[in-house]
Structure formats: C-alpha cells, structure tokens
C-alpha cells in the first residue's frame, strides 16, 4: 500500500517558505549594492579583494535556493515519478563545488603573495574635494557592511530551522560567519596602513580559508543527501526524530508483529518506505491504509509513504544502531 501524499505543504510552512524567498531576494539586492560599493573602493588590498569575491560567492547558495524553489513544487510525472525535490540538493552541490574551487584558488593566491613578499600599495583618493588615504575609505565601507549579515544571518537561521531546510541552513551559517570576513579585511587594510605588509596577506588567507571551509561543508552536506543518507536534522548531526516515530507507530499496531522503515530525505520532504511483518498470514487492506494515514499524519515533512507487507525484515538500520551502540560502549 502506498500513497504519494499531499503535494502542497501545510499553510504555516508555505508562509515560512514565502518568507524565506522574500528574505533571500532582499539579501540578494543588498549584496548587489555592497558588491558595487566595495568594487569602487577596493584598491590593492588582497584581503579586501578576497572579501569582495566572498561577497559575490555568498550569493550562490541563495540563487540556488531561489532557482530550485519553483522546480521542487512541480508534480511528479511519468518521467520523474519521484518528483523534482532533488533540485534543491543539486543546487546545493553546485554552490558547494563553486565555493570549494574558488576558495582553494584564493588560498593559493594569498599564500603565493606572502611567499613573494608582495607589498600592497594603497594611495590616496579624492573625496568631496579632499585628499584622504584610500585605506580609511575602505575601512569605513567595510565597517558599514559588517552590520548587514549580523541582522539577516540570524533571520535566515531561524527560518532554516523552522523549515528544516539544509540549503537554507548552510546559507544562514555562511551569512552568520560573514562578519568575520569583513572584519578580517579591515585588519588587512589597517596592516597595510601601519606598514605591516604581511598582515594583508594573512587576512586574505584567513578569509579564503573560511571560503574553502564553506565549500567543504556545503559539498559534503549536499553529497551526503544526494547519496540518500538517512534523514537527519537540518545540521546533519542527528538522525531525524521522524524516523523513530514512524517505526513506533507501526510497531504499536495490533496486527503488526514487527516493523522497520527507511526514509529518503528529498530536501524539503521525506519519502518513507516502511516494511511490516504481520502477526497473521492475512492482512486487511483497510488496516494497511490506516497505517499509511497514521504515518502521513506524523509530520508535515512526510509526504510520500509506502508500506509493504513482508515475511521478514531486511532493513539495515537496526544492525547499524547496534553497531553504533557497541562503538560508543568501547571507545
């Protein structure tokens, strides 16, 4: 017995998703402004140039989210019977790989600049008829820009947790750490101002390392999801509680002798495959129907449920859990 459940999300989640979409658009617009302003004053500071590239790259997960959003809502077709939910994961992977590649490249450039002992030049600029050192303008701009992510980072994080969306979570984690890159570039420019040439390269290395790290975590996270790792919480640290509850519901049924399940995390929604060993040889279709309904009612993320009647269980999860327990017992 199976059911492809509801296609629409509950009203509350629909509202949150709309909110997330609007927030991502607003942040994209804000970032477009900061990218332009920084490009105008950036000068020869390697740290500032790296922070600027980081600003550009930070839009990738947001764009991936906005592009994937209309796609994941498409109904399953004969050609795509599981629906289009994985679009979000694919977007996440593309963004992760881009971050990884550019982060590695920037790391290399920062290190080679330090090895070659490049002394970055920053001269003056004319502002409102006055000649001032350009470094002060760069620091002022960065100090202003530092404020943005401090406001929208936590907003994104809150939505990501409410929606249980991993792409949004990764994006929010990046936004929350964004202030460190801006602060780092201020340190680099101040270093140039003080005549400490290597401080700029060191700050650039720090910023590019954080881009590289974002790339590693995003690529790893998206690959794990696309490889059908078991359903986890948004930060991929724990198994998702829904899994245990599905098994609990099935094992609690009167006609069920034993039950187990596996869940595909499709990004925003779960596809549940459950297996039950009945107590008797005959099973009523209406009982099976009710079991599917019970599982669907568990959580809004459970969207597609199939329950199979089997003579014995062959799902690895119990064994795996026992293994884990043994591992924890003997360190």
């Amino acid at each position: 017995m199976s059911r492809t459940g509801r296609l629409e999300l509950p009203e509350q989640q629909e509202r949150l998703l709309r909110k997330a979409r609007n927030l991502e658009w607003a942040v994209l617009a804000y970032t477009a402004v900061t990218i332009t302003v920084v490009a105008l004053v950036m000068g020869n500071s390697q740290a500032m140039q790296t922070a600027w590239v980081e600003d550009i790259l930070s839009t990738l997960p947001q764009i991936a989210f906005l592009v994937a959003l209309p796609i994941i809502r498409r109904k399953p077709t004969a050609k795509h019977p599981y629906g289009y939910h994985r679009a979000m994961g694919v977007g996440h992977l593309v963004a992760g790989v881009a971050l990884l590649a550019v982060g590695a490249n920037l790391c290399f450039e920062a290190i080679s600049g330090l090895v070659k002992q490049e002394h970055p030049p920053i001269g003056t600029m004319q502002l409102f008829g006055m000649t001032i050192w350009q470094g002060w303008v760069m620091i002022a701009v960065m100090a202003l820009i530092v404020i943005g992510p401090l406001i929208y980072g936590p907003m994104k994080m809150k939505l990501a947790k409410q929606l249980d969306n991993k792409l949004l979570y990764a994006d929010a984690a990046m936004a929350k750490a964004d202030w460190t890159t801006n602060a780092g570039s201020i340190v680099g420019v101040l270093g140039i101002g003080l005549g400490i040439w290597w401080l700029d390269g060191a700050a650039a290395l720090f910023i590019s390392a954080s881009i590289l790290w974002d790339g590693i975590t995003n690529t790893r996270g998206s690959v794990l999801d696309l490889m059908d790792m078991r359903a986890t919480t948004y930060d991929q640290k724990q198994p998702h509680p829904v899994h245990g509850r599905v098994d609990e519901v099935l094992r609690g049924l009167r006609w069920v002798h034993h039950a187990a399940s596996r869940i595909r995390d499709e990004g925003q929604v779960f596809h549940v495959e459950a297996y039950v060993v009945p107590k008797r040889a005959k099973v009523k279709v209406s009982d099976l129907d009710r079991a599917v309904d019970d599982i669907l009612a568990l959580d809004w993320r459970v969207q597609d449920v199939s329950v199979s009647v089997v003579s014995q269980l062959d799902v690895p999860d119990e064994e795996e859990e026992r293994e884990e327990q043994r591992g924890r017992g003997s360190p």
Binding site: P121, I122, G123, T131, W133, L150, I192
Partner: protein, 164 residues
C-alpha cells in the same frame, strides 16, 4: 554559543581604542614598509627618468620637462635634493623594485603594463596619446611605500589645484 551583539560592539570599541592609542604613540597611517618618505625627507630623492618630451626631456645635462618640474617642486616641499638616473622603463622598474630609486617618470599613463610590479600614483592629469585616445598621466612609486605614495599624490593634487 555565538557571541552576543553587545560583545561585538565592545570589540569594535576596543579596535577604535587601539587605533587611537597607536596614533598617540606617534605611529602614522599610512606608513611605509621600507620607510622611504622618512629617508628622502631632508635627504636625496632618487628619480629615474625615461626621455619622453614634453614630460621628460633628457637632451640637456639636467633633465627638463613638465614632469621634471613637478618632481622638483615635490622634492623642494620635503626638503630633498633630486638625483636623476636615465634609463629604459624596464631598467628603471627593476631599480625601483630593488629599492635603488624612489620614483620613475616619463609620461607614463594609468594603463601601463608595469602596474603589477610597481605602485601607480592616481592620474594627476589627462594627456592625449599618439593614437588620439586620452589617458591619465601617472608616476611609478615602489610597492607598499604608502606614506611616500600618499605624500606624492597630495602634492600632485595641490599642483593641479594651483594650475586651475
């Protein structure tokens, strides 16, 4: 646990405090990595020249031309005497990188291919090029000597203002 906002504001206050303390200790921003401005002030300003009339004319014993005049007046403003070295751009850029000379002039423009190896001043004037396009005139300073570069640019700005 993430740092709370008041703590971040606190960090910013500390940063400003450090900057203030540095200023109080007589540290100026920008500073030179190699201390060029300090060395040439009241001393000798080593200038490389590539002949390129009307900016630099090296046919006489002492170079003349509009850029030579500007550099001489800059040297006067910091109490330095100028020593001229004539050579090709490539030779002079090499000397500049090695720290043998402090400045290179010769009607160079802001799209000079040497910009990876030396610091360009802001364009101090516009000049028509051989192909009829317009380009900004610049001088070449050593990389990372930002106090020297800034002092030179301030002087160039003042000269431009005086002409107007």
């Amino acid at each position: 646990m993430r740092p709370t906002r008041p703590r971040r504001v606190g960090a910013a206050v500390v940063a400003v405090g450090i900057a203030g303390a540095l200023a109080a200790c007589g540290i100026t921003i920008p500073s030179d990595v190699e201390g060029t401005l300090d060395a040439v002030t009241g001393g000798v300003l080593e200038v490389g020249v590539t002949p390129n009339p009307p900016y630099v004319d090296a046919s006489e014993e002492q170079p003349t031309g509009s850029e030579v005049e500007v550099v001489t007046s800059f040297a006067d403003s910091i109490g330095a005497t100028v020593e001229w070295t004539e050579g090709s751009e490539q030779t002079l850029v090499g000397l500049l990188e090695a720290g043998e000379i402090d400045l290179v002039i010769g009607g160079l423009t802001d799209d000079t291919p040497w910009s990876d190896r030396v610091a360009l001043t802001r364009a101090y004037a516009q000049a028509e090029q051989a192909d009829g396009s317009s380009a900004g005139l610049v001088m070449l300073a050593p990389m990372g000597e930002n106090a020297f570069l800034s002092a030179l640019e301030r002087h160039l700005d003042a000269e431009a203002q005086g002409e107007r």
